[in-house]
């Protein structure tokens, strides 16, 4: 058994397809280029393949991870070259590596994620770094989230899961936020919660749909063992 990781980016129109669509897209891409994945055992076998972390609909991404197991060994040419040919425009495979077949899944290993958030307000309108500092110096940042099982709205404090936010002068002198948030199965916060609560805090005069979000990096622990090919 061989276990690989591929790093890829997602840009352009393809950012409008969901996490489930991405799973189907990759499993079909593997089939199209004849890459044989290892299947799980049981009544409903499915290919052993998973993403490190789902990406929200509408987000672009610079370095997403997918891990998968194959029956035979494949070269870099196949994993990047052949597979790339069967990808839709907007998905670019960047590099691939071998990961140990034992040990934790990617989802369990990822610790944090970096996001770039482009907001269509003028960078100089306010001292946004100060607004951010005020935002972060709150004791708690309470947000409402619908619980998956009970469907009830529950309040959670997201402050401990925000690692850092900084303001930058972005394109056309607009405001760009760089955020580092907890991400992964150990501790996770949806960037949507941070964006909406910050929008409210800073009383932005713009709508959510005018804001562009990109996930730039998924942070793995420094000792995570990848042999890049």
């Amino acid at each position: 058994m061989y276990k690989y990781i591929i790093v890829f980016s997602k840009n352009g129109y393809v950012k409008y397809i969901s996490h489930l669509d991405m799973q189907r897209l990759f499993s079909r891409a593997f089939r199209r280029c004849g890459l044989e994945l290892q299947y799980s055992q049981g009544f409903n076998p499915h290919p052993k393949m998973s993403f490190a972390q789902p990406l929200s609909l509408g987000y672009s991404a610079k370095g997403e991870y997918i891990e998968f197991e194959t029956k035979t060994a494949y070269s870099n040419d196949v994993l990047i070259g052949n597979l790339q040919e069967t990808m839709p425009t907007g998905i670019q495979l960047i590099r691939c590596g071998i990961i140990p077949d034992e040990g934790k899944s990617l989802a369990a290993s990822v610790e944090y994620a970096d996001y770039t958030v482009d907001i269509p307000v003028a960078f100089y309108e306010k001292d946004y770094q100060k607004v951010i500092d005020d935002y972060l110096s709150q004791k708690q940042i309470l947000t409402e989230k619908r619980q998956k099982k009970t469907k009830k709205m529950v309040e959670t404090d997201i402050r401990p899961k925000i690692r850092a936010i900084t303001a930058e002068q972005g394109r056309d002198d607009k405001l760009t936020l760089r955020m580092t948030l907890d991400c992964g199965s150990r501790s996770n916060v949806s960037p949507e919660l941070v964006i909406t609560s910050f929008m409210k805090f800073a009383s932005f005069n713009c709508s959510r749909y005018e804001i562009e979000v990109s996930r730039d990096k998924l942070g793995l622990p420094v000792d995570y063992d990848i042999k890049w090919m």
């Binding site: 189907r24 079909r28 005018e210």
Partner: protein, 782 residues
């Protein structure tokens, strides 16, 4: 103080703070600045040398003192004092400014233009901006007049700029598709970009064709006909076929709000820029969507309102066999198989375009081809009782009747080896191979069984080859075969064994729809559905043998019970049965028969001693008489009658473990009106469309009130509930399906007597198709 000191964005915002400029004014300033810069950039691209940075800063600061009287003077004085002389000069004049001529254009012109086309914080164009100003502070005739003069001056200035940059100012500020996509629930429907789509360079083709499916993406992409025609047209280098679907309600609302025109998925080109727009007519209840799509595209609905500058609007598919309700909207119908007729038509359009021929000249060239119906060549006259008196040609060259287009040997009808693979979930998302076209069974209610004659089979080697290629090119893990009656394929057992083995080897699941449930089928089903046994489905269509004989559905009670017994024995736990109500000759005893079958099946399960859960679903649809069938003369039940029958069945089917569902009555009534409608029905479609009707086939969107009014006004019962006499001129008589009217009559007469007609694989039944083409089922007496 340096004369050329330039304001920076940072300084601007400091000034806003110093002057307490309100947020909405700042937003306005930004919009003016962005707008003016965008116009300036276009001009610079066309030979001018404007200082865009100056335009940007002057725009941004121009209303800094807006809360004051004579704000432009205060702002200009302040700017001058601070050393920003150029900005100050522009701001000083922005309230009253006369534009220069184009050759003397400067930064002030552009900033002031920006100010005149922005309303609050959004580009709206000069008209809307002036309207807004006129009504803003209470109307004042003197002020209104001066504003209107300014508007004319500005318009003249704009048109000079537009001439130079070769595009409209509006188009510079058209909203981006991204803006819309971010606000809708399923943006993946509108992005195109799928695997195996055709991408062509715009210079290389002569005719751009948009294939329009008048329903949602998820439905349209499940339609194999789209894949077939897309593949065939795009194989031709000089033609380019793109796709367009009906946008969902949320997207449509945004498109209307932003004036964003209907576009193709491949290149996001407005549909109105196509040479040809072709609708597929799969279902009568999608017709209002066609009108809605034309409107969203900005194309006039009626053919007579479209001159040669508009795209040709064509349509094809099963509903083109009664094209009349759409005759006022569609320029050309393609009736019958499209694999040859469509590319041939598009090639002719290419020639006509090259040689500068008019639409009418084109119509004359193609009008005698098989399958081409040009409604504008015929005028319809009516009798006093509302029936049709006659069709009169207004051009002698037009044919008396339109013979459907037929592909004689479907081996030559190219089937796609490589299909578009959607990125989002669709209804049917799998590889599909058509095994044969047509059907030999002769069910008297079935339109497909009549209009797709003769039966034409694909060789089993070709089927396997296509399946293999499609799976390889798509990455699908499911294969389905397509035909009107799977088990009727001549070499069915051999083909199925091969497909089963092939799919097993490839880890692909095989789906065999509408199987005849004999012992062989069960063997196959056992093989392909080892773990997940989906429900067993069966379509007896009628509850008693008597009624099944009337409709010529060759299934007996014994067939049903034998199959169910076997299914129970093999461990199936769910049986689904399809019936129709309102069939000609139906009585309430036939409805009792439906309940009887359900009860007997439950009884069979009890008797088997298998125990465990077991349920039966009875699914009822309402009979809709269709054109070109033996029942085309028959009345349909009224909505009330259907309702009564449903209530009756609800009572009878209160049986433990039996679920019962039925089709919407009002939708069926509507469908019946359009299915056998004439040209006067186009008025009903327009009225329904104007009342906002769309997605009528979706019960949750069906607008009952609106359609009720439309049908009442248009005398809907004339079309749905009236029994026609054999000598009446029917609206679809203009279309020759290849099956003769005398055959349909004799079938209807036999139905009245309860006589059955055998499957034509057992001997020719004389439908007439063999006088058009060779029919494998015989009929040597041509």
């Amino acid at each position: 103080m340096s004369a050329n000191k330039r304001l920076t964005e940072k300084e601007c915002y400091e000034m806003f703070r110093a002057y307490n400029t309100p947020d909405h004014v700042i937003a306005h300033c930004r919009a003016v600045s962005d707008t003016a810069v965008a116009i300036g950039r276009q001009l610079n691209d066309h030979g001018f040398d404007l200082d865009l940075d100056l335009i940007k800063m002057a725009g941004l600061i121009h209303d800094v003192a807006r809360t004051n009287e004579h704000h432009e003077i205060i702002a200009a004085d302040m700017l001058e004092k601070a050393g920003f002389t150029e900005e100050a000069a522009i701001v000083r004049v922005h309230m009253r400014y006369d534009f220069n001529s184009l050759d003397k254009i400067n930064e002030t012109d552009i900033m002031c233009l920006g100010d005149r086309v922005v309303k609050e914080d959004r580009y709206v164009g000069i008209d809307e901006r002036v309207d807004y100003l006129i009504h803003k502070k209470g109307e004042n005739p003197q002020r209104t007049e001066s504003l209107l003069t300014k508007k004319q001056e500005t318009k003249a200035f704009i048109s000079h700029i537009e001439e130079r940059i070769g595009m409209s100012i509006d188009s510079i500020f058209a909203p981006s598709l991204d803006q819309l996509l971010k606000q809708v629930e399923k943006p993946g429907r509108y992005i195109g970009n799928e695997i195996n789509i055709s991408v062509k360079e715009t210079e290389k083709f002569d005719v751009r064709f948009a294939f329009a499916f008048p329903d949602l993406y998820e439905i349209g992409m499940s339609y194999v006909g789209l894949q077939i025609l897309y593949n065939i047209v795009n194989k031709k280098e000089n033609l380019y076929c793109e796709r367009v679907f009906a946008p969902a309600a949320d997207m449509e609302a945004l498109m209307r709000d932003y004036s964003y025109p209907l576009f193709t998925l491949e290149t996001k080109t407005p549909v109105k820029n196509m040479d040809v727009l072709g609708f597929t007519l799969q279902y009568e209840m999608s017709f209002t969507n066609i009108l809605n799509m034309l409107e969203l595209a900005g194309i006039p609905l009626l053919s007579k309102d479209r001159d040669d500058s508009w795209p040709l609007i064509i349509a094809g598919g099963p509903c083109a066999f009664n094209p009349e309700p759409l005759a006022d909207f569609i320029d050309i119908f393609i009736v019958g198989d499209g694999e040859q007729a469509l590319p041939e038509l598009l090639e002719t359009v290419a020639d006509a375009k090259k040689s500068g021929k008019s639409k009418t000249e084109l119509f004359k060239i193609i009008s005698d081809r098989d399958g081409i119906y040009i409604p504008s060549f015929y005028d319809v006259y009516y009798n006093e009782d509302g029936t049709i008196q006659q069709y009169k040609k207004n051009w002698d060259g037009a044919p008396d009747r339109i013979r459907k287009s037929i592909i004689e040997d479907i081996e030559y009808a190219e089937f796609p080896m490589s299909t578009i693979v959607p990125l989002i979930d669709t209804v049917h998302d799998r590889a599909v191979v058509e095994t044969f076209r047509g059907c030999t069974r002769g069910c008297r209610f079935c339109q497909a069984g009549m209009i797709y004659r003769p039966v034409r089979e694909r060789k089993s080697d070709s089927i396997l080859k296509i399946a293999e290629e499609q799976l390889k090119n798509s990455g699908h893990d499911e294969l389905s075969i397509l035909s009107l009656s799977t088990s009727d394929y001549s070499d069915f057992e051999d083909l199925t064994l091969k497909l089963t083995k092939f799919c097993k080897d490839k880890d692909v699941s095989l789906s065999l729809p509408s199987l005849r449930l004999d012992s062989f089928s069960f063997k196959v089903l056992e093989e392909i559905q080892k773990y997940k046994k989906s429900g067993l489905t069966f379509a007896p269509e009628a509850g008693t043998q008597r009624l099944r004989d009337i409709i010529n559905k060759g299934i007996t009670d014994k067939d049903i019970y034998d199959a169910v017994e076997q299914a129970i024995e093999l461990g199936w736990r769910h049986v689904k049965l399809y019936f129709m109500i309102g069939l000609p000759g139906e009585t309430y005893e036939d409805l009792d028969g439906i309940a009887e079958i359900a009860r007997n099946i439950i009884g069979l399960h009890k008797k088997s001693g298998k125990g465990g859960r077991f349920n039966v679903t009875i699914s009822i649809s309402n009979f809709v008489p269709k054109a070109h069938t033996p029942f085309q003369w028959e009345p349909q039940d009224s909505t009330e009658e259907f309702r009564k029958k449903h209530e009756y069945l609800t009572e009878r089917l209160k049986i433990k473990n039996v679920t019962y569902n039925y089709h919407d009555d009002e939708v069926s009534t509507c469908e019946a009106v359009i299915a056998r409608g004439d040209r006067r029905c186009s008025d009903m479609l327009i009225k329904a469309h104007e009342a906002g009707c769309k997605f009528d086939g979706w019960s949750e969107y069906f607008n009952r009130e609106a359609w009720k009014n439309v049908l009442e006004e248009g005398n809907g019962v004339f079309y749905s509930q009236r029994k026609r006499s054999y000598d009446e001129v029917l609206p679809w008589d203009i279309i020759d399906s290849g099956v003769t009217k005398s055959f349909l009559k004799s079938e209807n007469d036999k139905a009245g007597l309860g006589d059955v007609t055998a499957d034509c694989r057992q001997g020719c039944v004389g439908c007439g198709i063999n006088s058009r083409v060779r029919c494998a089922q015989g009929g040597s007496d041509v």
